[in-house]
């Protein structure tokens, strides 16, 4: 058998030790080790078992609790950000009211808007904990902001006619579908996608139902075409959120 230079064996040795060598390489290294005591010693010693499980390399039991506490602290910090953001946004109309009569919010307006903003922010923070996928986070963001806008516009001016138009109560159905769907889906991306698609479909049905029941009221501004366009816009945003959720289902790694 042809003699192989020692340096070649040393090059092959890491693969041999790591159990990554072919049968031919193994045979070559072992044949050489028979007349090279130093190589034989290295082979006998082998690489340390770094993955070996022992009490010294296992995390202490208290670490799980420590991690949960850190996680809660992190969530509380995010909630504080939501509160700061809410106060900052509410400062805009409050400051504007000092300089112009065009903006005239009652205390109730501030309370309702504050609750909406906090609710939206907390919904984003809590739901986005479920996944580390950026697409999932984007989907949550689009969904909650669209929901917020839908409620806000309805409370402020109403989509169908004025805010006092009873047809606008139909939009509660869109939000209810969302809440029930989120509960059923338990925040899983595929279920969330189905929920958002259902919200989009119902959003499109709202003006149709309103036309059947309250047809005359649809003539009020923004008019029938305006109402349908606004609903189509909201439906499109819910559908985009649904598509993002569906896309994030493909990213999930569990």
């Amino acid at each position: 058998m042809e003699t192989v230079h020692r340096n070649i064996i040393l090059d092959l040795l890491p693969s041999y030790i790591g159990g990554e060598a072919s049968a031919e390489t193994r045979a070559l290294v072992e044949a050489h080790a028979q007349h090279d005591p130093e190589i034989a010693r290295i082979i006998r010693a082998g690489a340390p078992d770094i993955t070996g499980s022992s009490s010294a390399t296992q995390p202490p039991d208290a670490l799980e609790r420590k991690t949960i506490l850190r996680l809660r602290r992190s969530i509380r910090r995010k909630m504080a950000y939501v509160a700061i953001a809410t106060v900052s946004i509410l400062m805009i109309p409050l400051v504007a009211m000092q300089f112009t009569g065009e903006v005239n919010w009652s205390p109730a307006d501030f309370i309702v808007m504050g609750m909406l903003l906090i609710g939206t922010g907390l919904a984003y923070v809590l739901i986005s904990q479920v996944s580390d996928s950026r697409t999932y986070h984007a989907a949550v963001g689009v969904a909650v902001v669209t929901g917020l806008l839908l409620i806000w516009i309805n409370l402020a001016v109403g989509i169908i006619g004025s805010e006092d138009n009873p047809a606008n109560a139909l939009y509660i159905g869109v939000i209810l579908i969302g809440l029930v769907g989120v509960g059923i889906a338990r925040l899983r991306p595929r279920g969330m996608a189905r929920t958002l698609f259902a919200m989009a479909v119902f959003q499109l049905l709202v003006p149709v139902i309103a036309m059947i029941i309250w047809r005359p009221s649809l003539a009020d501004p923004p008019g029938i075409a305006g109402v349908f366009m606004l609903n189509a816009l909201f439906a499109a945003l819910f559908a985009v959120a649904g598509l993002l959720f569906r896309h994030s289902a493909g990213d999930s790694r569990d």
Partner: protein
């Protein structure tokens, strides 16, 4: 918390062991392990690996590098002082071996250590190359070089112990 518990029970041992060998200190390894799960579950870190284990290990490594930058210290930790006399002979022997290995590992460059530890945790050379942002060939060289050095170190230790 169900997702957390599933993730934690499945990967905590691997992440802790990886962090322990990487930084050489049990308290730092605990911090890195806890923060790794917090980062993953709060979505603070973008997806950077094909497998969840690779993802977690890469986050753990980045946290280790962050802690190094923060403290401006290089790792040359002495092995933890453990009263091996109080332990059964076999356990004490294993513990001493582990401490010696942990300490010895700190003598090598961080990326060499990481490459070998990631390989030991079952990551492919391609994943290691991605995690360290190096070529596939460099990843293999790093793993092989350190593996050989550790085997030589063990052989020397065995010879001196005899």
């Amino acid at each position: 918390m169900t997702d957390f518990q599933q993730l934690y029970s499945r990967y905590a041992d691997d992440i802790y062991r990886f962090a322990l060998y990487l930084c050489g200190d049990a308290a730092d390894a605990e911090d890195i392990t806890a923060e790794t799960f917090v980062r993953v579950l709060t979505g603070k870190t973008p997806l950077i690996s094909a497998t969840i284990k690779g993802y977690l290990l890469t986050i753990a490594r980045n946290l280790y590098l962050e802690s190094l930058r923060r403290s401006k210290r290089r790792t040359d930790f002495p092995p933890e002082l453990v009263d091996t006399a109080a332990l059964p002979e076999q356990v004490a022997g294993d513990r001493a071996e582990l401490d010696a290995l942990r300490s010895h590992l700190q003598r090598f460059p961080e990326d060499d250590r990481t490459a070998l530890l990631l390989r030991s945790e079952g990551l492919s050379y391609e994943e290691i190359a991605d995690a360290l942002d190096i070529s596939l060939a460099s990843a293999k060289v790093k793993v092989h070089r350190l593996r050989l050095k550790l085997a030589e170190w063990r052989a020397r230790r065995e010879r001196t112990q005899i």
